[in-house]
Subunit: 438 residues, 3 copies
């Protein structure tokens, strides 16, 4: 059913390059701009819901809008040491502005380095505290500073002011009020990082764009709900504003994140572990003959923490290639465009499109006859039987019929008969055409 | 409780010899004659239900009656090459008549050989197509023909005319309308073959005859329903005429087939795999200390295909020794009287009689006391206890009492305590006599 | 919460020495005296219920009171060979009195020895028969007699007369009529033996005494019911007089027996095997890092035979160190004060007090927020997050929150997160204090 992205590398590459340098944070012009760029790419309207700074959402309070304007670190003799030209991770998110000379010791007190990788600039946030100003360097950079400089001039320009948390939503497919929903969630709050930020919004955009096109020519069974917003507080804002709808109608959901590095695939289960989303996602790996590892729900780290929270307990699980917390470049400036590949983004898109195809076509067939039908009458069986060997000629069809008990869906039957989903779907379609199954 | 067949080999041998050469097919005088012979053997009435040719049964249509009358294949010089004297498998079932000279090439086009065994005449059917005439030879025979003959004369006499599909039924035991049923099914549509045809009707007849005799002297708990008819369409005709009764009252059922070759036993599960029939049959193997293999339901091939079809889903499973499709002589003239043994037929009968004994006596006992009873009062326990060793003297009785929870039946208890069914039954009978259990 | 017995060895030692030589049997002054000694030790009232000799309890009949008064076995020349000074196991419980000269053969007919241990005097009972007089010697002693004596004088003084079976009961903690109950059961019918008799009543007394003290300063959640009486018939008398109450209110129960020998711990499951009592007891082993073996319910031997009888089916399971039937000294005079240790009695007490602490504090927490709470607002989370590493700082708290689904109790959560119960309890208490969970 679906549009393949094989020849669209250039289009994806352009989108990546536009989105990469944007200065995003929880609430920021950068995050708003990200939504606009995506909206244009998918050729569909993203509905935005806003929550003003100071709004209480359950136990949370929406913080101020925070903008990073500029950073210049210069030496005693006016030489520019560091600025934002190579990475906008150099400023602690949430840091107040600061301008002035500091001696080395004081600079070190305000400077964050990565705990283990000496050439990585760490991604540091302080959203909900009242932090002092702070900058991030790699340990190598800081060591160089220590050797060569006594006094340093910092010119850090940031702005914190009331604004509004924005979450975006795009619906496509069956738009009936009571349609069951397939949910895709991603986030747009991380600055200049590739796998653990951009890969999510990119695949999200590719899926949304494809479904918008498909829905023009074909009725879809499900309502596809695409959510985008800042991580954690964005998901909590969504849950607190639409929980009853989500609980009633969500059939399956997936967090789109960490989909850009070429690596062994992994599966992050939902709270339940056996929801329809888990079953379909795991089957999708097998049906595509993709080897994958199974992560523990205890190692969840993105918005499935919210969607799968107790009492929330939505059927949300995910596929990733290089999982947050587990690849060394995670949350550093080394998570950059060289680390990911357009090929992997397209493969990740194709994986989820295969899954969507299964969602759309899967159902639980039920036989209509009492005992096996006279298949030869429908030209589905040879009339001639030599020494009992003929039965093997159409074993898949007899096998499928024997599973049409209304309890097994096409996924179950495909697994049981060890046949590709596509083949099972084809046989079921034939039998339904002959009025032999529901 | 049951009559053993140890001294009845001669009786079984006579029955085999009468039934073996009869020319059976789906609808034929041969199948009718088979029913008559069996009826006489069991000394009980087989009720016959008929379905006229052309009748629609679900998606099936009852075919014509087809009779094989004669075949003579002769050479240019009038020498008789093949006729039916050694096997009536030499004609494709359903073949029209033919008389005339054919050259070798044309003969080959009408001749079927076995795909892998060169000295076997295959069993070929074409019930539901509109076949050309056809004969079956072994590959060796055909090769001989090719070398020695250019022209062959075929005189094939068959007759196809409207008739009636017949299914036979014999009921014995508790004949109350609402009695639970134990079901035994076999088929009488295969020509001259021993294991995959006659072993079924033979054991069926032995069981029916034994139960008729037993029921004269003893009340039976269950209604034993014996069904016989052509494979597949016969079972479908039965299902479509009596489904509600079968679904309501059948407690366990077994297809009797492939019971004549001395070989490792095997078990073909029901659709459910855990029905009472499966549980009892598997237990029967263990209780008789018979080693057996478990077949996959996916490899079902006889009438359990119909009885275990989705939505039909009856508790039917089977024991076999050499399963259809799995022994090389299957569906050829090599499946003959030398291949099977009367000893195995009697062993198979004894197996099913042991199972029937379990069906008749099994129940779920429940204790009547609150805490252990004072067994010594009933002379079931030594009053004297030396250093705590006495408890072992009647451990089986205490063990059985501890399982009389109304959820475990005697089969469960026998398995749990690793004791023979007979011993458990004896203890339960004693305790029931003392009014200590229900 | 609980009083530790570390410094109370002397107190336990005194109790042991008082109780050890008392001449107990099913119904006897010795058993009554045992109750009085315990009552004084625990400083709490034991309510006694009496069942007169001859009373019918289900299938049982209460026997007479039987007292052992004296035994003297002397030689031809008046030399005292054996009396009760070293063990009161020398007389078969239930034996009638006898006075007179017997020759060696007759003496042997009345004399019981241990079936396998030559220097052990066996414990022999004959409560419910009509025995002849009987004495018990070690096999070595009997062999010595055989070599040296032809005639022996027996002076055996016992008394059998109507009396009353007594069962004792002590309730402490939440005394509301409808309070859920934790049940501890032990028995006081065995004569002079240490592990398989006294260890039970001793630990029973320590637990009762501790809970009486605790209940003076603290509200307890459960009603703790302590039962003591003769084995088997005592438990059956209890069941037949209070079954509905026990079935309705017992949340968990334990038979206290075989708790005195320093040995690997073992666990005797309840009938169900998965009751709350089983779950808590098994968890207690793990939480205390105690290695233990699991016994089969088939090897039950004490009053769990009654409490776990079918239809009774109470949640009663036990911990033991050296189980009845399994240590060689069982039911002989070698099961004496040297065999057990006060250290083990105190360890066994501490085990059950840990279990009681779990019973009192365990519950199933439920989250109060929709998605994770803003923990930093409650000073439970660092506001600053460096390269994604901060989440590990309070992983246990996030982990616990993710399990507060109302289905998992603190035991489940502790197991799932592999954390000590105490730590889980502390975190749950903190979160409850912040109003983030129920």
């Amino acid at each position: 059913m679906y549009r393949r992205y094989n020849d669209s590398s250039a289009e994806i590459g352009r989108l990546l390059e536009i989105l990469y340098p944007i200065r995003r944070s929880l609430i920021s012009s950068g995050s708003e701009k990200t939504l606009n760029v995506i909206e244009e790419f998918v050729s569909g309207k993203i509905e935005v819901t806003s929550f003003l700074s100071g709004t209480i959402i359950d136990t949370w309070e929406v913080p101020n809008k925070w903008e990073l304007i500029d950073l210049k670190i210069t030496s005693e003799n006016g030489e520019l040491l560091f600025d934002l030209s190579d990475s906008n991770l150099r400023v602690v998110i949430g840091s107040p502005a600061f301008e002035g000379w500091v001696d080395l010791d004081e600079f070190i007190r305000h400077c964050y380095v990565h705990p283990s990788i000496s050439n990585a600039i760490p991604y540091v946030t302080n959203y909900y505290g009242n932090p002092d100003w702070g900058v991030c360097l790699s340990k190598d950079e800081l060591d160089f500073l220590k050797f060569n400089h006594k006094k340093i001039h910092v010119s850090l320009l940031t702005k914190s002011q009331p604004g509004a948390l924005q979450i975006g939503r795009l619906e496509v497919g069956n738009l009936d009020y009571s349609a069951e929903q397939i949910f895709f969630s991603t986030y747009n709050c991380h600055p200049q990082m590739a796998n653990n930020e951009l890969s999510g919004p990119i695949v999200w955009s590719m899926l949304a764009k494809a479904l918008i096109e498909i829905s023009k020519v074909r009725q879809l069974k499900y309502k596809y709900v695409f959510h985008i917003g800042p991580e954690t507080i964005g998901a909590i804002a969504l849950l607190n504003s639409r929980f009853d709808e989500m609980k009633s109608f969500m059939r399956a959901g997936h967090v789109l994140t960490c989909l850009g590095i070429e690596n062994k695939y992994c599966y992050m289960p939902s709270r339940d572990g056996n929801s329809f989303a888990d079953k379909a996602l795991k089957f999708c790996f097998d049906d595509l003959a993709i080897d994958y590892s199974i992560k523990s729900f205890a190692d969840r780290g993105s918005d499935e923490r919210q969607y799968c929270y107790p009492q929330v307990d939505l059927p949300v699980c995910s596929m990733m290639t290089a999982k947050y917390h587990e690849y060394p470049e995670y949350h550093t400036n080394l998570d950059n465009l060289e680390l990911i590949s357009i090929k992997q983004l397209i493969d990740s898109y194709n994986f989820y499109m295969h899954l969507i195809n299964i969602y759309e076509t899967n159902y639980s067939p039920i036989v209509k006859t009492r005992g096996e039908p006279m298949l030869s009458k429908y030209y589905l069986w040879p009339s001639e039987n030599i020494a009992g060997f003929s039965a093997n000629k159409n074993k898949a069809m007899l096998g499928l019929l024997a599973e049409c008990d209304g309890e097994s869906d096409l996924i179950d039957i495909s697994k049981k008969l060890s046949l590709k989903y596509e083949e099972i779907l084809k046989i079921a379609t034939t039998l339904k055409g002959c009025d032999l199954i529901y």
